[in-house]
Symmetry: D2
Subunit: 334 residues, 4 copies
C-alpha cells in the first residue's frame, strides 16, 4: 500500500502516522520527494482500512499495490480451477452449456425442457424455484416444490441441476441441488455468502448489476474464506444508460476475470440482454472470447405461441444456438 | 398499461393476445391508428408481467400508466406518514438529527459520543454493531456486544438508537433497538424485507448504490405488503463516474420521493460523500430542500488526532453543523 | 406518439390540449379508460417536442411509438448499406480490418506499420493526425503533416486511410482522406455533423462515451439529413463503473444496431478496453457476433521495447489476431 | 507521479524504464519494498503520458500525485476568482441569479421575460439563440436573430445577457454577448475551447452529462491555457440510472469544486431535473451549500396555459423562488 502525504505535512504529524501504522503491524518505508513524501506500507495490508488512511488530513492519496482478494487470485493459484458439478467439469477447458426455463412451472414443463436441451447438447439444467422479484406482488416461484420438480427432471435426464438460493435458512432444501446459484441482487449479501462458505457445495456466483469485477471477486473471497473453493463466476450484464437492451453484457469481463482469478467464468446472455434475438450473437461472442460456459433460458411452451420474442429461446432456437457454439468451440480445440 | 402493437400485426395474432390478456383478468380497450394499434389494459395490472408482454414479437412497446407500488404511494395515502421512533417523531414536519459513530467500539466511546451529540441537538443515536464489509478480512463489528453497548448509551442519554440488521435470524437481538436499519447492499434482499414486514418495528431503508427511486419504493412496498408501514427512506449517495467523492448525493431524490410517497425521507451526507469536509454543505442542502432528517457520522476519538479528515465529524464539528441546520430549519418553520 | 392524461383532467383542459396538438399538424385519436385517457397522436411526430408535452400538468406520460430517426432506420431501408471506402467495401457481408497507430509520428513509422498490417490482412490504414486530448498540455498530433504522412503510406501500400477530424474548418485538409472519423467526444458536435452531412465523404461515426444507441443514430441522422448516407458506425466502449478496463465494450450494440439500422457497424477493441492483451478476445467476440469490421491499434516501435503492455499491438501480435479473426469469419461464410 | 513496478521486474528492465523516464526530463526516486519497487517521478509530470506508463508490462500501477490542471487549481491561486460579466460580479461572495427562457422566440417574449425576472431580482438574462438539439428535425433556435432580440432586451432592462455558442466561426455574432455559454455536449469540443481561450470574453462552461469534475477542470484549463481566465463553471445535472428526473443534480460538485478551483460555480436546477416543480427545492439546496449563483428557465407564455408543469417556471413561480433564495442567502451573509 502506497500512501502519499500532502506537501506541508509536519515532521510531527508524519511521525505520529508512522507510529500508528506500525502499531497495526506494518513496516513503513519512507521515500521523500521534493514536494511530497511517499510511505510504502509493507506487510499484510488486507486488514488495513484504506478509506480511513485516505481520509486523513495529511494524506494526499492512498493506493493498494496488491489486490485485497487472495484466495481467488490467480497470483496465488496460477492453474485454472475446475469445478465438478454432479460429474460435469466446468473450467480449465471444460465448457458448460446450462439451459432451462426462468421459472419451474410444472413437472410436464421442466421434464420436457430438460429432455429437449439435453438432446441439443446442454450439460446442466437450470430452473428457478425461489425467484427474486422486484415487486412483492409478482410470482415468487414454486419454492420447495420447484426444487422437487427439478430433481424429477434430473432423475429423468441425468442432467445436474442449478437453481438459486435466496436465504441460507433454505439450505436443507438444496441438499440435492448440484450447483447453488447466488443471484445478482444477493452478490453482496455477506451473511448468505458466509453460510455458503461453510458448505462444500458448488456455487454459481452472479455479478451484481452495478458491481465491479473487484467487488465480484471480494464476494467470491467471502465464500473461499469460509473454506469453499467450488465457485463459478457468472457475467450476466450490468446496468448502463442503454435502454434498447435490459442490461449491457460486459464481455470483456471474461478475459479480464481469467487474468485476475483461477475460477471459471460463464456468461448468461439471456439476462444480459433481455431479448431472445440477441441470445445467439451474445452466446457466440462469449464462446469466441474464451468463456467457460453459457447459461441460456429455454422455455418449451411460450404462452399461446405468442412468446417467441421473449427472453427465452424455444427448444428449436436453442438447438440452433448450441450447434453454432459447438462450431466456435472447435476453433479453440484445434 | 398501454401496449403498442407493431405495424403488420395480423388480426389473428392481435385477437390471440387479447384473449390471453383477458384470461389474466384485464379489460382490453383497442385503439387503432393509421400505422399502429394501441391496447389499453384496464384493471389491476400490478400482477401483470410487463417484461413478458414487451418481449412478444408483435409488441412494439409496453408502458405502465400506474406505478407498480401502491401502499407506499402518495396517491393512495396523501398525508405524510409520521413514524414514531422510541418517542421521537420523524416526518410530517418533524426533523430528525441522527448522529453517532460508524462502528460501536467500546462503552466509553459510544457513551461519550452519545452525550456529545445529544448536547448538540441530536435526537437519535446511531452506531454500527453488525457491519457489512466488502472484504471478509475487514472488521465485521462487535455484533451482539455492540447492541448491548448502544443500549447502555440509550440508558445514559435517553436517545433512541438506530443500528443495521444484516440477517433476519438476528431479529431477537434487535428487540430493544428503536429503529432497524436496512443497509444499501441489502435494499433488494427480499427475504430480509419480508421478515421485517412481519414485525411492527420502525425500519430505516437505505437506497442501494445503483438503484432507482422506483426500486427503493418497491422495496418499501415489500415491507408494507407484510403489514409494517413504519418505514423511513434514506438517500445515501449513488454510484456515478465521479471519483473525488465516494458516491454522489442525489439531492433531488428528496423532493421527488416526497411527491411519490408519504413516507419520511432523510439524507446521510457522510456516506454520500465520504469526506467530512463536505458533510456540512450537504447537510445544509438536505435541510434546505425539505428532507425530514439527516444522519451524520460523529466520532469522539479519531485515532491519534489524525482523523480530522475522515468521513466522521468530531463532536465539535457536529455541533457547528447542527447549529447551522437549525438556522436553515427556521426558514421552513416561518 | 402516445400521450396518457392524468386521472382528474377536466374536459376543458383535454380539449385545449387537443386543439393545440392539432395546430401542430397532428391527428389526435382519443381512447378513454376507466382511470385515464390515452391520446394517440398520428402524423409526422418527429417535429413534436415530446419533453414539452410530457411536462404538462395534465399529462401522466408520453411515449414515442416510432423512433425519431428515419433515414438511418432499417424500417425505411431494409437492405444493408455498403459503404465504398477508396475501393474497399464495408457492410453487407464485407468485413473491414482497419489497423494502424494511435498517432502518426513519422514517415518511417507510418510506412512500416502500413506495410506490416497490410501483409497481415488489414484492408484500411488508420492513424491519428489531429488528436483530441483531455489535457491542453498533451501532444495534439502532427496535424496537417500527419495527414501528409498518411497519404505517403497510402501511396506506398495502396491502403485507403482513416483519420479523425475535429473541426469542420479543416475539411480542405481531408480532401484525400478516404474515411473521415468523428471521435467519441464529438459525437454530439452537431455543427460538425451538419458540415459533414453537406459533403459526400464516407464518415466513421464513433459512439460517445456515455451515449445511447438512439443518440448515436440521431447523430447519424444529422449527417444523413444533410444528404450524406456514407456512414459507418463504431462501438468503441462506454463508460461504466468498472475500472480494470478503461471503458466497457458494449458488444450487444453490434446485433442491436444491425436490427435498428442498415448502416455498417464496426468495433474498436483497442479503445474499448485500453489493454492490448484484451484486444484479441474482444476482436474475436466482435467477429463472432456479426460486426462488419474491427479497428485495431498497431504500433511498430514500442518505446525501448517496454511498451508490450500498451493498448497497441505489435505487428506480430496483430498478425496473430488477424489470423484468428479470419478463422471466425469462415464460420460466417459457410 | 508514483509508478509501482511488478514483482519480478528485472534490474535491466527497471534501468531501461528509468533511463527513458529521465529522457523525458523527470527525476526518478527509487524506493524498494519487499515485493515491489516504487518509482517516484519528480518534475513537471503534466506532459507525461500516464496511460502509456501504466500499460507497460513491468508496471503494476501508476498514479498522479499532483492534479493535471494547474491554472484553474486553487493550489496555485488560493483566492476566489471574481468574474465581471457586463458589470455584474460573480464569485467570491457575489451570487448570480440568471433567468430567462430556454429559447428566444420573439421580441415580445424576451422583453416581457427580461422585465419580469429583473423585477424579481435576476441579475442576468439567459436565452437560447443557437440550440443544440439531439434531433436534426427539432427547432434549432433563431440563431443570429435570437442574439439581436437578446440585445434588445438588454437595452430595455440593462441586464447583461448569456447565450450559448456552438461554433467558433459564430464568434463575431457574439461580440456584444456578456457571457458566452459552452453547453454540456461541447464541454470536450477542444477546438471550440481553444478558440474561446484566445478571446477575453467571460465563459460559462457547463459540465458534460457524464463527465467528471476533473474533466470539467481540464476543459477550463484548455480555455485558461489560451490566456482567458474569465470562466464560470456550471453544474447542470449528470446522467444516472434514475428516470423520474431527467438528470441527477450532483450537488456535492459545488463544495468539491470550491475546494479544487478558484473559479465560480453556479447551478442550473432546470436542466438538472427537467421538472419545474423541483426547481425551487434544488435552487434552495444550491444556495444553501454555497453555490455562486443559479440559472433558472423562466417562460412568460406557456402554450395555452397548459405548460405549468414544464421545466420552465412562470414569472410568478420564479418570483417566489427568488424570494426564498434571498432568505437562504441571508444566512450566509450573517
Amino acid at each position: 500500500m502506497i500512501t502519499v502525504l500532502k506537501p506541508g505535512t509536519s515532521q510531527a504529524q508524519r511521525d505520529q502516522l508512522i507510529v500508528w501504522l506500525r502499531e497495526q503491524g506494518l513496516d513503513v518505508h519512507v521515500s521523500e520527494g521534493s514536494d511530497y513524501t511517499v510511505l510504502g506500507l509493507i506487510g499484510d495490508t488486507s486488514h488495513v482500512d484504506m478509506d480511513l488512511i485516505g481520509s486523513l488530513d495529511i494524506v494526499e492519496s492512498v493506493k493498494r499495490v496488491t489486490e485485497p482478494y487472495k484466495q481467488c487470485s490467480r497470483k496465488f493459484h496460477p492453474e485454472d480451477t475446475v469445478v465438478d458439478v454432479g460429474g460435469v467439469k466446468i473450467g480449465g477447458g471444460n465448457f458448460a452449456v446450462i439451459a432451462g426455463p426462468c421459472s419451474v412451472e410444472s413437472e410436464e414443463q421442466i421434464i420436457a425442457v430438460a429432455k429437449a436441451v439435453k438432446a441439443s447438447g446442454a450439460t446442466l439444467l437450470r430452473g428457478g424455484a425461489f425467484k427474486p422479484r422486484t415487486s412483492p406482488y409478482d410470482f415468487q416461484g414454486l419454492k420447495a416444490d420447484g426444487i422437487e420438480l427439478l430433481l424429477e427432471a434430473k432423475k429423468e435426464t441425468g442432467l445436474p441441476i442449478v437453481t438459486e438460493i435466496m436465504n441460507a435458512n433454505h439450505l436443507p432444501l438444496f441438499e440435492d441441488v448440484d450447483l447453488i446459484q447466488v443471484g445478482a441482487r444477493n452478490m453482496q449479501n455477506f451473511e448468505l455468502l458466509k453460510e455458503l462458505g461453510k458448505t462444500d457445495r458448488p456455487i454459481l456466483l452472479k455479478r451484481g448489476l452495478a458491481n465491479t469485477l473487484k467487488e465480484l471477486l471480494m464476494s467470491a473471497e467471502y465464500i473461499m474464506a469460509g473454506g469453499n473453493d467450488k465457485i463459478i463466476l457468472c457475467e450476466r450484464g450490468i446496468r448502463t444508460f442503454e435502454t434498447y437492451t435490459r442490461n449491457t453484457l460486459d464481455i470483456s469481463a471474461v478475459p479480464m476475470l481469467h487474468e485476475l482469478t483461477h475460477l471459471p467464468v460463464i456468461v448468461d446472455p439471456s439476462h444480459a440482454t433481455g431479448l431472445n434475438r440477441l441470445v445467439e450473437p451474445m452466446a457466440m461472442a462469449a464462446a469466441a472470447c474464451g468463456a467457460d460456459g453459457i447459461m441460456i433460458e429455454v422455455h418449451n411452451d411460450p404462452p399461446h405461441a405468442l412468446c417467441d420474442g421473449a427472453q427465452s429461446l424455444t427448444p428449436e432456437q436453442f438447438d440452433r444456438v448450441a450447434g453454432k457454439i459447438a462450431g466456435i468451440r472447435e476453433i479453440f480445440q484445434k
